[in-house]
Amino acid sequence: MATAAIAPEREDYLNKEYGIRSWLLTVDHKRIALLYLISITLFFFIGGFFALLIRLELLTPAGDLVQADTYNKLFTMHGQVMVFFFLIPSIPAVLGNFLVPIMIGAKDLAFPRINLLSWYLYIAGGALMLYAILSGGVDTGWTFYTPLSTSFSNTHVVTAGLGIFINGFSSILTGLNFVVTVHRMRAPGMTWSRLPLFIWAHYATSIVMLLGTPVIAVTLVLVVLERTLHLGIFDPRLGGDPLLFQHLFWFYSHPAVYIMILPSMGVVSEVMACFTRKRIFGYTFVAMSSIAIAVFGFLVWAHHMFVAGMSMYAALVFSILSYLVAVPSAIKVFNWTATMFKGSISFDTPMLYALGFVGLFTIGGLTGLFLAALGLDVHVTDTYFVVAHFHYVMVGGAVMGYMAGMHFWWPKISGRMYPDSWGRLAALIVFVGFNLTFFPQFVLGYMGMPRRYWDYSHSPEFQVLNVLSTAGATILAVGYLLPMVYFLWSMRYGKPAPANPWGASGLEWMTQSPPTTFNFDETPQVTWEAYDYENIPAPVPEEAFGD
């Protein structure tokens, strides 16, 4: 506290108050965003640790590092922690929380106290999950399939299920806050057609959170009731229907993929426009494609169940609908490409991540079409092909977008510049490491290696590709640790960030870095369209970076 005696030059949301109380009881959306940043980073490294153990086990064909039971717990907890406690809150709860009010010219979210409540619910759910992990873990797979989860597993299903149930309400309340804020809190002149695409993406994400999450909540309640009170709802021995569980589970868990990817798409739109210095090509189409993804996303869930014994006709319909959801996704990819056409492109760190997103998401999306095809899906169901596909979407897509966003807005969040050369190096390492980890898994899956096996000694020919994958995971880990190091370094040693280091459009760049508690000195009046890059001077690179 000795440094607090030195009077700061100007007041901002970080130096306005000090002390634990001022953080744990804050209702400032920016401080809550930082609380989320710290907590999801913790869970990211816990989930990553499990992934590391999984990859180490698969280095050799024999099951030597861990035994089957431990391996089952490892991939289960990797999935549950990463999906529910990192990916779903990642961009909305950190960047969305920080930026949604600022981007529309508001002082805060509509319900600041509910926003803080969301974080506490997240922490309560996370604590239960941690308790389940530390007291022995869960082994049902992140999908909690019945009757394994309700009648056979001897692990902490109820604790983990309740943790995810509570965490779900955090997600619901965040979504509710965003929708109300976008509807009611826009600054004068900030019409719907002037909203940044980041806002459109978060609006669509929030709709999915609001309509999907309650369904997983009630499903988990029923699982817990069946497990504890032996009510026969999903277990066929008690007269229940396990297919009903799968329908209810995927009704949320497929749209959950769009909760992860839509915010990343919003980030990429912002970054693309800034570093090509052009208005996003086809603004309306990109905005509406977010809504279309949210709507279509609710109609495709049963493509996870093609081999589960569903009617052929239902499978046919879900296959066609799954193809349809590719249309709005492709609109985005084509429009980003068209935005780059004849743009004056610069390859700063956020842009490298955004370009990585476009490439990897395209591969993830196209292999999704393989899986939506009824015949091919039967061949690759429950193989590493599926694992590779969804990691291309969730890690290559969602996490790349998150990294792009963190690098783009870090100067605004922290008020400091990070070393751009290190940033570019990390982006390159992540891209190389990612592809080395997951591309071999497409081949493995196509060759027939099933997922969720700890031992493949019956087919040692899989080893070479598994070694490549493990090597890639190690590189990827370095790529994720680096940004944490230089972000922390920059908080103390980084150059102070100007209000608008990238020469970007958007209200968040028109206030100081870091912003004041109420974001703006006076409510802005918006008289221009989104991405008005024709009227914004490009920054001189030397001004922003010392190196």
């Binding site: 509509a110 509710l176 009611r184 809190m185 609001l210 499903t219 029923l222 009170l229 026969g232 007269g239």
Partner: protein, 235 residues
């Protein structure tokens, strides 16, 4: 208190981040509507399970449904409809600044709500007496031989009947939980109204508390026919 428009414009109720009271009220109201949307999805999962099993195990469901007493459910429906009326009158009283009427209407709503829960308790106790609680609740094993005897024409599988009663308790139980939350909200509203916090300028809590109450009421309007009334004609 009712006519000084300018004086109350920036009353203490206006939170710092809103531009004016209208924006604040509209935000709160939209927030509650969205929350109720999520509630529909929450109950929707259980309604779906009920409908799927009703189709799969039709005869067991038809017989089990007939074993529930309609009068208690019907009385409860009437009680809830009355409570919705008093909620509407409470909102109106708040808008017109009639503090005494507001407090009385809120108290009446509370009484109706508690009456509903009491009647529900009687009904659940009946289920306990009849051995219709799934599993082995307090030493009483689930048993449907009485239903099998009463409906000899229907094939009643005890396991399928147990699914009916599982869903019956899950649905009415979670509905009752919402009623209990509603009772808590109305206790708080009565306290605020008694302090004189509400008036024509500021009645948002009464309004959105009322929205919540109406929603819980509407859920019952769907539960009553689904669980008690569907296809009740004599066999």
């Amino acid at each position: 208190m009712t006519d000084s428009h300018a004086a109350t414009q920036h009353g203490p109720e206006l939170l710092h981040h809103f531009a004016d009271e209208e924006q604040q009220r509209n935000s709160a109201s939209l927030g509650m509507w969205l929350f109720l949307g999520t509630e529909i999805m929450f109950f929707g999962g259980m309604f779906l399970a009920y409908l799927v099993y009703r189709l799969n195990y039709f005869e067991s469901f038809a017989a089990s449904s007939r074993s529930i007493a309609v009068p208690l459910g019907a009385i409860n429906t009437a009680v809830l409809l009355c409570s919705s009326l008093t909620v509407v009158l409470a909102v109106r009283a708040a808008q017109m600044g009639k503090r005494k009427l507001l407090i009385w209407m809120l108290i009446l709503t509370l009484i109706f709500g508690l009456a509903f829960l009491a009647i529900k308790g009687v009904e659940w106790h009946e289920k306990y007496e009849e051995h219709h609680i799934p599993g082995n609740f307090m030493g009483r094993a689930f048993d449907v031989s009485d239903i099998q005897r009463d409906f000899p024409k229907l094939h009643v599988d005890p396991q399928h009947a147990q699914i009916f009663f599982s869903l019956y308790f899950a649905l009415t139980g979670i509905h009752a939980l919402h009623m209990i939350v509603g009772v808590g909200i109305f206790l708080w509203l009565i306290y605020k109204a008694w302090k004189g916090d509400f008036g024509p300028k500021y009645y948002t809590p009464v309004e959105i508390g009322g929205l919540y109450w109406h929603f819980v009421d509407v859920v019952w309007i769907y539960l009553f026919p689904l669980l008690y009334l569907i296809d009740r004609k004599p066999l």
